[in-house]
Subunit: 203 residues, 4 copies
DNA sequence: AATGAATGAGCCTTCATTCAT
DNA sequence: GATGAATGAAGGCTCATTCAT
């Protein structure tokens, strides 16, 4: 009979689910602090202090600082990708794709500026710290996938330069996102026009 | 007679020149360390240790850590811009510009990978730390200027989207530069082809 | 029912009490070091080294060096004032006040010489560093209050020159206390006679 | 013949005189800085920076930091004692002494507040650092001597408690001088009245 | 499961002092 | 005589991490 093992497994699953839920909750708090201060300037104390988490708990749920940060970036990834994918989901044909994609990018630049800042921070860290490379590579692969999907949905035949076009879009995204931080912020309409034109050229 | 003032001024000039020379020497050593470890992970001790500099000397020549790092980035800027400008200098007409520019970019990706890594690190830091914003803005303005020059030399009439095209090129540059760090490094020929095609499209 | 809040509050109180107790213990160790070396020459490392405290703990319980030192002076204040007040408590009439007060001062000069040294050190620091002024003013107000009490207990009508008489007594106290450090130390009897005569004149 | 030795001696004397003059000039500059920042907070760099002195020169003329500071205090002493003595010089009889002495003290409290601050700082340091004890003892002896002179000039027979009366006066002096720093500063007239009454009682 | 007290290595910075020029 | 470049020990402070409860 394997009844008992099944029960045990169920209990273990429940335990893991609960643990994951807790980890996610911690990560969400941590992201708030990281968005404000950046990777280099955010201590675990900052994270614990700006929420109702105890210092010890951070280490109870996460191996070390890197582990927590990687988890945070994963959360970010899921959220951002979900948004874009959902925006593209109902778009049919080249025109709708261009419209939906550019809209989603512009909205994200304006609304999620702080979160992207964190992403660029971690991506840069990965250049120096190999610990972060797998997660950064994973996320970047997903972002490339989004571009691929957009190309397909737009009926663009050639799937060859998807990586390159991701890189180009990312360059523009980063540039205008950074502009939001300084005083050279563009209006929403200008931004929309920039990305629309860009996608017109690419797709 | 104003001989003495002249002499005094000459001495002061010599002193300043010597000081500048020393600062540059220190900065070059510091850049070596920063390239390896990145902004967040390089302590002044690392910089002093990896060269024949004493810890106190760093503070004798630079106000503080930020001051030193900003100086380092300035040195980097001068060097990189000099290279690209000099590469474009003798190019005449669209074809030569495309060839010279793409060649310069590819060479820099391969040879100066570590230095660019530092640049991207500081640029990211500037998103969180306002101290670095002026120098980052200054450098980015120079890079945009290079793109403008290339457009002009190539006889490209529209000067409108220079900033955007800088952003796009930077996106590609960063992507392939980062690729050099990981295992997905492209060959020199592939890189050349990518940038040549890109410039063909842009110019 | 509000049992739980009560329990929580009780726990928080216990925690605070424990923290205060620990702070006091640290301060007592710190005072030992400060008494020997003086404000300017006592580093946090000295304090940690001369006791079983770790360097980090000092900062765990105190904001910074000033915070710790101010706390130390507060401890000193409480102790010194307690001693003098308790000495005056049971004195009735002019003669007993003079006797008890002069005795308490002389005992303190001889026994607590080192502690007073620290007090004079901090008081002097306050002339240059505004951080220490509030605590110094507070203590000096208490000392003046002691003199006032002595005047009242002695039946001295005029309460006018209390501040001045504190200043005079302090001048004598400091002078003979300092004498203890050098080789010109007076005997206990001489000291007693000096302060007795002084109070005879003042009261 | 001892002509040559005489000449040599004369030259050596001239040299020493010049050196002393230079030392005095340096000390005057140093005192300016010390008055502002206090013993503990004034670095040799501060002294060199706030005047036209080079860092090396300080060590060329003075053994070390303590040596310089002791010299500074000596300069202070000469100046302060000179003032008081000169004020007392022409006073004849008890009334004139009281008037001249109290006037000199009040003027010094108001005008030389910063300098006295430095004196009290050094005197306190001497409690911890034996290096300063000889000079502090020397100065205090001179101050006591001034009080003795005042007593004599006032025709006060008993010369017994001169030290004590110096201590008392110093206590009052320090108290009201310190009051000048904070917001409780007394007016010149109030101060004058306080010290006049005090001397009336003492003499 | 959760806490937060405690640790100590490491960071940036300051400073008196030395010494070649 | 005079300078100021150079040194490196020492200081205050931060922080990820550990561990007893």
């Amino acid at each position: 009979m394997n009844e008992v093992p099944i029960k045990l497994k169920a209990r273990a699953d429940r335990k893991n689910a609960k643990r994951d839920e807790k980890k996610r909750k911690i990560a969400e708090n941590a992201i708030e602090a990281l968005k404000q201060l950046g990777y280099a300037n955010t201590s675990l104390r900052d994270i614990a202090g700006n929420s109702d988490l105890s210092l010890g708990m951070l280490h109870y749920y996460f191996e070390d600082r890197s582990d927590l940060i990687i988890y945070c970036v994963q959360i970010y990834k899921q959220e951002f990708v979900r948004k874009i994918v959902s925006a593209l989901e109902q778009a049919e044909g080249r025109d709708q794709v261009i419209d939906a994609f550019s809209e989603a990018l512009v909205v994200s630049i304006i609304d999620d500026e702080m979160t992207h800042r964190l992403w660029y921070d971690i991506r840069t860290q990965a250049m120096f710290d190999a610990t972060f490379r797998p997660i950064v590579a994973e996320i970047e692969a997903m972002l490339i996938d989004i571009v691929r999907t957009a190309f397909q949905k737009a009926g663009h035949g050639v799937q060859d330069g998807v990586e390159l076009h991701y890189a180009l879009l990312d360059g523009a995204f980063r540039y205008y996102m950074q502009g939001q931080i300084s005083s050279t912020a563009l209006t929403r309409e200008k931004l929309k026009s920039v990305f629309r034109n860009l996608l017109e050229r690419f797709l």
